[in-house]
């Protein structure tokens, strides 16, 4: 079965970690992830500038590794990201901001990508909260 997974929380929120563990279980169960979509405060889960204390779980880094190693389609909503200061190189240049915190494998794109994923997936599962 195909899953579309949407994350609405930053990396420090329990629900971002929960979404990641869920996504791992989806793949472990032999299912497919059509797309990961990061919206609202979930765009912070994609920030490469998160520095977790050494003795704490680095969920942002784990997301990156998970997406890389499974070659997943991971889309960050561009409007939500700009508003929260999560920028790839093109957007940082466009708005003349000094920091880039969204390198590959993440893609900035629009909400249409969430709808497209929901259309092709058998289940849309969203994560947010405490």
């Amino acid at each position: 079965m195909k899953f579309a997974i949407a994350v609405f929380s930053p990396a420090h929120a329990p629900s971002s970690r929960r979404a990641l563990r869920y996504a791992e279980a989806v793949l472990a169960g032999g299912h497919e992830i059509a797309r990961l979509f990061f919206y609202q405060d979930g765009v912070h889960s994609a920030s490469t500038n998160v520095v977790a204390p050494q003795d704490e779980v680095d969920v942002a880094a784990q997301w990156r590794a998970f997406i890389d190693s499974n070659q997943l389609d991971a889309v960050v909503c561009i409007a939500a990201a700009l508003r929260r200061g999560v920028l790839d190189e093109a957007e940082a240049n466009r708005y003349q901001r000094p920091a880039v915190n969204l390198p590959k494998p993440w893609e900035l794109s629009g909400l249409g990508q969430l709808h497209e994923a929901a259309q092709v997936a058998d289940r849309l599962v969203c994560f947010g909260g405490d």
């Binding site: 949407a6 609405f8 919206y39 609202q40 409007a79 939500a80 508003r83 629009g110 909400l111 249409g112 969430l114 709808h115 497209e116 929901a118 259309q119 849309l124 969203c126 947010g128």
Partner: protein, 119 residues
């Protein structure tokens, strides 16, 4: 056939971008001609309160965007009767034409859609 999506908006309008970002999901889906519904629940019904003046807190008018929903093909608009009553909002004063539904009708509504997201 395209899957239908019900967006349940339960955030008050001026507590941050949440209400607008819920609305943006609806507008984006409407632009793709997807079958969409929007339900205002809990504090979300405050988005429908009449005569709001968001300029007082330097916010854009959400009502204008809400009114655009039918133009974007989002014609199924609902509000929770219980949420309105609890907040002293009369159905005939709302800023948007919505169907006001009781709990049983809301259960049936959620059951009818292929996918639901509550934010």
């Amino acid at each position: 056939m395209a899957k239908s999506l019900l967006i349940i908006s339960r955030q008050a309008p001026w507590n941050g971008p949440s209400a607008r970002e819920a609305l943006d999901i609806a507008l984006a889906g409407g632009a793709f001609d997807l079958p969409l519904g929007m339900l205002f629940l809990d504090d979300g019904v405050f988005q429908l309160a009449p005569d709001q003046q968001p300029a007082a807190v330097q916010q854009k008018n959400l009502a204008a965007n809400l009114q655009a929903l039918p133009m974007f093909g989002v014609e199924e608009l609902f509000a929770c009767s219980h949420s309105l009553t609890r907040r002293g909002l009369a159905p005939d004063t709302l800023a948007l034409p919505v169907q006001v539904l009781d709990d049983a009708a809301l259960s049936a509504l959620i059951a009818r859609f292929d996918q639901v997201v509550t934010l």
